[in-house]
Symmetry: none
DNA sequence: GATGAATGAGGATTCATTCAT
DNA sequence: CATGAATGAATCCTCATTCAT
């Protein structure tokens, strides 16, 4: 990577980071290119060297956010499936909390409406999470932690809707409760109940 | 009611109905006063005779939707708590499905962000549902269906987040699954598991 | 017409007139909505109550210009065909000169590229003139001024291309010559030559 | 010529050729440096190594087009003036047709507005053609084909406006007629009529 | 000569909302 | 109550051009 390319990457990251900050502060509806570029101390046009549409940056912010979750999931070896899922929930909500309600709101809004997705966001966004979870469960079946007849798809959707339900309610309640605490309760009470009959 | 008042009521309902139709067709983002009033064959100003802010109408649409659920809940006497909640879920999702994804999307978006609420929408919107559920559970305690030590608030939130999770995921997946079918599975599997230990 | 409608019409005409003036002064490329509305002392948005796109106003300006020519043509009774056409040319160029090169440039530019036409400009613009000329010639045939076998379409196109050629060259030369003087020469020399063999 | 210079020439020609293609395909309005350089697989900056302003390339394209006409005119020896002019018209329109409407539109647009000319395009563009025609006529006078009192300038302008009129109408009609066929009719009917009285 | 990141002037357009009639 | 002309804040986005590497 040449120095110029490095500089360019830095610029993009600066914009991305500042945008995330702004969304976190005031919500997506108040993110505007003018203010953003001004805060980044770059020209307005610079934004468009990196993002084709304003929308795109919101997606990248959210994708960044959830990409980090994915990364952490790699380090889940040596845990059983319930622990893994609990860990998944926990990390998910930790990250969500770290980024704040406004970004979570943006994420939900984006994810709710597939038609809003920018062109380069090829797959349906929600499948992003679905696939990850599905893989965790599939591997558990392969590793003989879960019975062969486990309805993987069904469970995936049940769990996903719990996860998104918590996020949605968290936003609705304007952070009235502690996500992590809730997650724990959810996992303790429900996860077991759901998985119990499929455990080997 | 004078004739004038009658006419006025008719006008308001026409606007409300047409707005609901438009949101259902194209989503909230594409609802605008110009097109709405044109379709209603009234002047643009007329809209503002009935709604102080454009936002208000979206809320009324959604409120209408969920008001109907509340109505039906009155007829739940003679059922036990699990049946009641199952019935609640079922009716809820039926109504949701009837109105369509776009209105559900509007609802989630509205509900997610308390700051978007119009002034005259005094309470936090999400408490709307919370309260109803809480009442169902409280009554169950009062009626000695549930133990006295039942953590009503906790259960309410768990159930609510399930409900919203399903709605959210339904929107995310662009109606890829049948809400009512899912509801049934949720109720059968989870609701029982959650409530079991509190049943008298 | 109510007073409000009258006022509205006045506003539109004011915008139209001022726009024509601005185009005349600085050319189409320098017509911008901001400056226009400021000069009209109306809000920027007012422009868009009357014109859906900026382009549209240019067309209206040009259409207005040539509509006036059409009007005058009504008063050509009692002249023979050569006189009529000479009169047509003459009036055409007079009007063109009156409006100035810049508007003529706008007209040619607009007319040259059918794809640029705004939606509400239904027919191909150039047919506007073609039809008028065609009618003049057809009537001359009907009135037995011209022979029955006169190739009306052919002549129409020859004459039209002369007319537009003069306009084009006038713009090219940046008004180096007198349109009316040229018109006269064209008519005297060519028109007769062209029509001669078809005269009854 | 060093290898570097050779390479440079190749690059310039590639840009020029691709630009011509792009104008022909989508019109001048859709020619932009970004897309052009991308198609040429060179950096955006490279464009500016060869062209000071974007406009310049359009002029070069058009100049190229008409330069070829000039070349062919050299081979007109041994023809009389009417034949020469007919040949000129014919070749002109052939070339025009070969390049297509969009480039012709670009040419007219460019030529119509002298203020648009790039700085290094010193003379008024339309004089380009004027001079060539004028020379043909002057030579005819010198060669005693035309009378001494022939109003060369006048005739030049008449002929030029015919030529441009045909081009303009061709663009207006979106290629509805065959340029060459028309040219023939024009020449047969009008050219003779115009020149007749000046022939020796 | 070639590169491509950065620039920033420039302009169009939308639409909720008001208010005089 | 109904009207609809007028408002103007709010922003996005394009793209020719420069210049340090």
């Amino acid at each position: 990577m040449t120095k110029r390319q490095e500089q360019a990457l830095k610029t993009k990251e600066k914009i991305l980071k500042e945008a995330a900050k702004m969304v976190a502060e005031n919500g997506v509806d108040n993110l505007n290119v003018d203010a953003l570029t001004e805060r980044c101390e770059v020209a307005k046009g610079t934004f468009y060297t990196y993002f084709k549409h304003k929308e795109d940056i919101v997606f990248e912010i959210c994708r960044d956010l959830f990409a980090q979750i994915e990364e952490r999931m790699q380090q889940m070896t040596g845990k059983n499936i319930v622990e893994k899922l609990s860990y998944y929930f926990d990390e998910f909500m930790k990250e969500v909390e770290r980024y704040g309600v406004n970004i979570t709101r943006a994420w939900i809004r984006g994810v709710i409406d597939p038609k809003n997705a920018p062109e380069n966001f090829d797959s349906k966004k929600w499948q992003y999470d679905v696939e990850m979870l599905e893989n965790i469960l599939k591997n558990a079946v392969k590793d003989k932690e879960l019975k062969k007849n486990t309805p993987v798809e069904l469970l995936t959707h049940i769990i996903i809707s719990q996860l998104y339900g918590m996020m949605t309610v968290w936003c609705m309640s304007d952070c009235e409760f502690e996500p992590k605490e809730w997650t724990k309760k959810f996992c303790d009470v429900q996860l077991k109940a759901i998985l119990e009959k499929y455990l080997v």
